[in-house]
Subunit: 367 residues, 2 copies
């Protein structure tokens, strides 16, 4: 792996001190901040995530705050997902698209009030788009990045760990719902969500001394549960089909290509900026789409560029994330495949740096 | 230094193959891409940059292309710098501000035609702001990221190296001007500019096979000039007072705080979005400003977070970039200092990870 030069521009988080003490071994950079990628090893972290409970510094999921009379209108302009039925206490996964229907981010929207929203973002400066739209359309809304720092608790023992710190109320939080709960007198949004398929929570932690106090309290309370510091796990998230913006999709892709058509609406009243551009693809479907791709043979290396997917020597797609899965004993990967070859079971080839490999397209991921 | 996990999301550039072959030792991440930071050592690269000539992969300086009848109008909405006198063939350093006057980026604008511009950006997704403004104001303009990849030639022998590849025409290009020149039949913008004070050029290279052909041709032609692969050098850019967006300034800062007041105009007709917000600061001046700060004593470590600047135990500013300068035999740094302590020669202290150090505020950088 390459070395990463430190600088203030690659910002530390409010939890970095805890991450370092926990022995972080490598990082990526996400929203101009440090995101841990490995603690013990990607494989060891993977097994532990599926068996116990981990605390993840995902403060890189920066928030965009919309506040004011036009906040709800602006939120609907940003996404093709129909927000009319969304209630207070809910979180929605919302594709964000530009006027061409291209994906700008795939965040989670948190509805705090009719005129108060947080958008918990993936890796792009979505704040700039939201501020530009608010300014150009002269909306009556304040748009800013508040000092809110998500901390994820993930793994099968998440409920027990969270209950030990926040009380049994957490057990009643439903999937993609949140409650305001207190830690040391500081109210925080606690949502049942997170970037794994092992269950768990995301805590929206305000900055200041309370952040590391909470970090330490979770590790203290979790001793008997084998709690460890963790991070989004490459293998587990590919098995589960959790997409990564910038890896698996870019602003060249529509939500429908990303398999997110179910989060898109095109009714006449929908105020989304990308609505018109998405009408045709919503009706006729995309010509390429995200698929699970099993790459046959020995473990593949790290996927740091798109690997072409081939059929009869012709390019029919690309793999964007790949890893060897110890549990499924095969190479799991995420790819974008043209409709001629996207049916379940289609045999293709993948051009990896180690040579051309046989591969099988699957309609479902490994979970 | 920490390890950087590879992924497609941290994009390679069209020159990465050459960078790797040249023995890159470390990277940073810039606009979601890999930017080299060290080849031999920061010190060795520094001395060589001042003596010979280097080829830098700065493809991370992505372009935003504005094209269409409203391109010029949009460009002026983005920046408080008066663009009326700007001619074809010129490049302008343009602070970009939001409606509050906060800096969103500090790029170089390249005027290709009255209705055709490139904006060569620092580290933020400025494309999102520009697209949002264009959409909200319903401007008749296309905004996109073209496949244009800057390659910088920097150092005192830059003219000789460039002349050997592009012909003697390059010698007549004036500072912050460009010409269209051909390499292997492919026309490219060649500007006299770059992120060092050692002189040189930036070539705006189209993607495709021509990119690595040009890289190789430069190294072939430069053998007798001791050409080496290089990169923006931390020490040299601090000595020269070249600011780094995300390190030395953020969207909390006005251009005036960054010492960029000379690039700001506030005449009545100026269409810049941030004009009104900047009126007061333009008239009264900022309350804090970028300064050169000399930190006394042994070489300081790497500055990966803001170091408080203190006077009588009170915080009066912060250092954002620092390094030991072999040529000036002192620690050079960039800081933001309140007006009470920004006069030349003011003695302050800097709270570094190695302890509190005496320091001196300077009005001029080391060049």
């Amino acid at each position: 792996m390459a070395l990463l030069s430190p600088s203030r521009r690659l910002r530390r988080t409010v939890f970095s001190e805890g991450v370092e003490a926990a022995g972080v071994k490598a990082y990526t950079v996400y929203n101009h901040m440090l995101l841990p990628t490995v603690f013990r090893s990607v494989q060891e972290d993977y097994h532990h995530l599926k068996e116990a409970v981990q605390v993840w510094d995902v403060a890189v999921e920066r928030q965009i705050e919309l506040r004011g009379p036009d906040a709800g209108r602006l939120m609907q302009m940003l996404t093709p997902r129909d927000l009319r039925g969304m209630q207070l206490g809910q979180c929605f996964y919302v594709p964000i698209v530009d006027e061409t229907g291209g994906m700008l981010n795939d965040p989670v929207a948190v509805k705090l009030g009719e005129d108060h929203w947080w958008v918990s973002i993936a890796d792009s400066d979505l704040l700039f788009w939201v501020k530009g739209i608010a300014n150009g359309w002269r909306l009556d809304v304040l748009v800013d990045e508040p000092d809110i720092n998500p901390l994820a608790i993930q793994g099968p023992k998440s409920d027990d760990l969270m209950a030990a710190v926040f009380g049994d109320a957490v057990r009643n939080i439903r999937f993609f719902r949140y409650q305001w709960l207190e830690f040391e007198g500081v109210p925080m949004v606690v949502a049942r969500s997170g970037y794994s398929k092992q269950g768990g929570f995301e805590i929206y932690v305000p900055g200041g001394p309370v952040a590391m106090k909470l970090w330490n309290a979770l590790f203290e309370a979790g001793k008997s549960m084998d709690v460890h510091a963790g991070c989004p796990n490459l293998i587990e998230r590919i098995e589960g089909g959790l997409l990564s913006y910038g890896n698996d999709m870019t602003d060249d892709n529509t939500p429908h290509e990303c398999g997110l058509g179910k989060f898109c609406d095109t009714h006449d009243a929908l105020a989304c900026i990308g609505r018109d551009a998405l009408l045709r693809v919503a009706k006729e479907g995309p010509v390429q789409q995200i698929r699970a791709i099993e790459i046959i043979g020995a473990p593949v290396g790290l996927c740091d560029r798109w690997w072409p997917v081939l059929a009869n020597g012709k390019r029919v797609g690309r793999v964007s994330s790949a890893a060897y899965s110890p549990d499924f004993k095969t190479n799991v990967s995420v790819g974008m495949v043209r409709m001629t070859h996207w049916d379940d079971g289609t045999q293709v080839q993948v051009d990896t740096p180690d040579g051309i490999r046989d591969a099988i397209v699957h309609e479902k991921f490994w979970i």
